[in-house]
Symmetry: C2
Subunit: 343 residues, 2 copies
C-alpha cells in the first residue's frame, strides 16, 4: 500500500488565510462563529489551492463519515447496477463517497459485509436486493443494524421489507398479480412459474401474487408448476427446460425476474418454440434490455435508478418515526413476448 506524500493540509489553507486551524475548519464546514468576510476569504483560498480535506482525518476527528456503504447481491446484474447508478448519482450531488460490496445472494456473507461496514464506521448503509426468509439472518442483521442506528448510523434497504429499517419497496405481490391477470386475460390457463433462488423474500412475494391472481380465476396453486432454480439467466434456462419436460401443455411461463426471463426465451429459441405464438413469457423488473429483446419482453417495470436515489435520500433525511417505507410504483409493460393462448 502506498504512503502518499506531503499534501495540502488544512493548516496550509489556514496559514495562507492568516487564521487558525479552528477558524479555517469552521469556515469550510459552513459552521458559524466566523465572520462572513473571513469565511469567504478562507473558502476562496481553499478553492484556489484545490484543497480537499483528508476524509480519514475528518472522520476520525469528527466521528462522522461521509461514505455510504452499498451492499448489492451482484453488481454486474443489471437490476443492481441500475440501483447502484441511482445511489451514485445522489452521492455525487451530496459529495458522498460510495463504497460498494457484494453479498453474492448469500445471507451469511451479506451479514458479514454488513457487520464489516458497521465496524468500518461508514456513515450510511444501503442494502439492495431481496431479503432472505432465513430467520437467523433476519434477527442477527436486525440486531446489528439496530445497534448501528442507535449510534447514529443511517440505513435504508431496497426491495426488502425486513430488517426493521427504512425501506424502498416495490409491491412485488401486486406486480406478480398483474402478470397473472395479464396472462389470464389472454386466455392462458396452463401457466408455469420460473422462480428464483429459494429463500429470497422477493421470490416468495412475487410468486404469492401470481398464485393469488390465478387462484381468483379458479386455478389452484397445486395446478401451477413452480420451478425453483436461481435468479439468473442460466437459472431461467434450466427452469424452462424443466417446465417443458414435465409440463408440456404449458402455454405461458412467468419468470420472476428479467434475468430468468432472458434465460427462458433463450431455451425456447433453442427448442424452436415460437414466442408468443406457442408460449408466452413474462419477466419482472424491466431491466434496460428487456425492451430490446426479440420478442421484446412483457414485464413489470420497477424504477431501479429512482429506487437507488430514493433510498439514499431517505437515509440522508432525519428519520422521525423510524421504519419508514417508500412504495415504488410498478407498471405492467405489455410487449411482444405475450399473446393469446394457443387454441
Amino acid at each position: 500500500m502506498p504512503r502518499p506524500g506531503p499534501r495540502l493540509r488544512l493548516a496550509d489553507v489556514a496559514e495562507r488565510a492568516g487564521v487558525s486551524l479552528a477558524t479555517a475548519s469552521r469556515a469550510l464546514a459552513g459552521r458559524d462563529g466566523v465572520s462572513q468576510e473571513v469565511a469567504d476569504r478562507i473558502r476562496q483560498i481553499s478553492a484556489d489551492l484545490g484543497y480537499v480535506a483528508n476524509p480519514y482525518a475528518r472522520t476520525l476527528a469528527g466521528g462522522t463519515s461521509a461514505t455510504v456503504g452499498l451492499v448489492v447481491h451482484q453488481v454486474d446484474d443489471p437490476y443492481f447496477s441500475e440501483i447502484a447508478g441511482g445511489v451514485i448519482q445522489v452521492a455525487d450531488e451530496q459529495n458522498l463517497l460510495v463504497q460498494i460490496c457484494h453479498s453474492g445472494r448469500d445471507p451469511g456473507h451479506e451479514l458479514r459485509q454488513i457487520r464489516h461496514l458497521i465496524a468500518q464506521q461508514v456513515g450510511i448503509i444501503i442494502i439492495a436486493g431481496s431479503g432472505y426468509t432465513d430467520a437467523v439472518f433476519e434477527s442477527e442483521a436486525r440486531a446489528a443494524l439496530a445497534a448501528y442506528i442507535g449510534t447514529g448510523g443511517r440505513v435504508a434497504v431496497i426491495g426488502r421489507h425486513s430488517l426493521g429499517v427504512d425501506a424502498v419497496l416495490p409491491d412485488n405481490e401486486a406486480g406478480g398479480k398483474a402478470l397473472g391477470v395479464h396472462l389470464l386475460g389472454l386466455g392462458h390457463r396452463r401457466i408455469a412459474v420460473a422462480a428464483g433462488t429459494a429463500g429470497l423474500t422477493t421470490v416468495a412475494d412475487r410468486q404469492a401474487g401470481v398464485l393469488a391472481a390465478l387462484a381468483k380465476a379458479g386455478i389452484a396453486a397445486g395446478d401451477v408448476p413452480v420451478v425453483h432454480t436461481d435468479f439468473t439467466r442460466d437459472g431461467g434456462r434450466a427452469a424452462a427446460e424443466r417446465i417443458l419436460a414435465d409440463h408440456p401443455a404449458t402455454t405461458a411461463i412467468i419468470a420472476l425476474n428479467d434475468a430468468m426471463a432472458i434465460g427462458v426465451l433463450s431455451a425456447l429459441r433453442a427448442r424452436g418454440i415460437p414466442v408468443p405464438d406457442r408460449m408466452s413469457v413474462v419477466g419482472f423488473d424491466d431491466v434496460s434490455v428487456a425492451a430490446d429483446l426479440a420478442p421484446s419482453l412483457t414485464t413489470v417495470r420497477l424504477p431501479m435508478t429512482t429506487m437507488g436515489r430514493t433510498a439514499l435520500d431517505l437515509a440522508l433525511k432525519p428519520a422521525a418515526a423510524r421504519p419508514r417505507r417508500r412504495a415504488t410504483g410498478h407498471t405492467l409493460m405489455v410487449r411482444d413476448s405475450t399473446g393469446p393462448a394457443p387454441a
Copy 2:
C-alpha cells in the same frame, strides 16, 4: 451524518491480551517484533471480540489506505458493471474496499474525480473506459497520476493506452479488423460504421481497425459512412436511422460497441428490416446479453470481468518497470446477426 458511538478499539484488544497498543498493532499487522505465542494470543482475542480496525484511524496514522478508487464512465452500462464485478472480486479476496465513482464519459469530470481520489488518499486508483483524444485532459491527468505514483500511489487503467500508467488493454484495432474481415468474407461491400462518442480513443482505434480491413479489400475510407453519435443504445438507434436514410444501399452495420448494436437492431426491427437477411449487424464487447438477443449478436468478445481482476492485480503487484501492459485477448463471436450479403 452519524456519530458512531463507542466501539471496540485496539486498546480493548491490547488490554484484554495484557499487552501494549504497539504490540497489539504489530501482531495484527503481521509485522515482526512480536513473539509467535503473543501474536497468536492477540489475534485470537481480536477474532473472538470481532475487532475490526477503524480504517480511518489506520489510514491517518499509517498513511496507507486500503481502499481502491474505481472510476467508470457509467456503472449501469454492462461493459462497466462487468469490469466493476471483476475489480470487486479481487478486492474482496484482498480485503480492500472499493470506492466507485462515475466520470460520465466527460474528460473534465473524470479529471476532477481522479484528482478527488488522489486528494482523498485512496491507495489504488483504477480507471476504466476509453481514453479521450483531448490532449489537455491527457496531459493534466498524466501529470496528476505521475505525482500520485511518485508518492506511492498505484494506478492501473483498463481499455486505454494513455496516461503513461499500467494498463489492461484489448487490441481494439485488431478487433475492428476482425469484424471488417468477417463481413468482407460474407460478401459485404457496402458497410457503414455506427461509431460512438467522438473524442474517445476506443472509438478511434476500433474504427481504424475496421477501415484498415476494408481498405485492404479495396474499399476506400471515403466510401465507408461513419456516423458518430454516442456509445449508448440510443446512440445506436440514431446512427442506424441516419445510415438508412443517407446510405440505403448499406448491407452491414458495424456498431463500435454492443450497446450501440442493440440500438441498431432495435431501429432495424422498428423498420421491419430483417437481420441478417437484408442487413448484417455486428457489435463489440460481448456484453452478457449479446448472446441472448434475437438474432444473437455477432461481436468481438472482451473478457471484461477478467480485465477488472487483472487491473487490480497489476496495481497490487510492485511495479518494477513502470508502464506495464497486459494485453487482453479478443475473440470474434460469430452469431446470427451476420449473414451473407444480399444479392
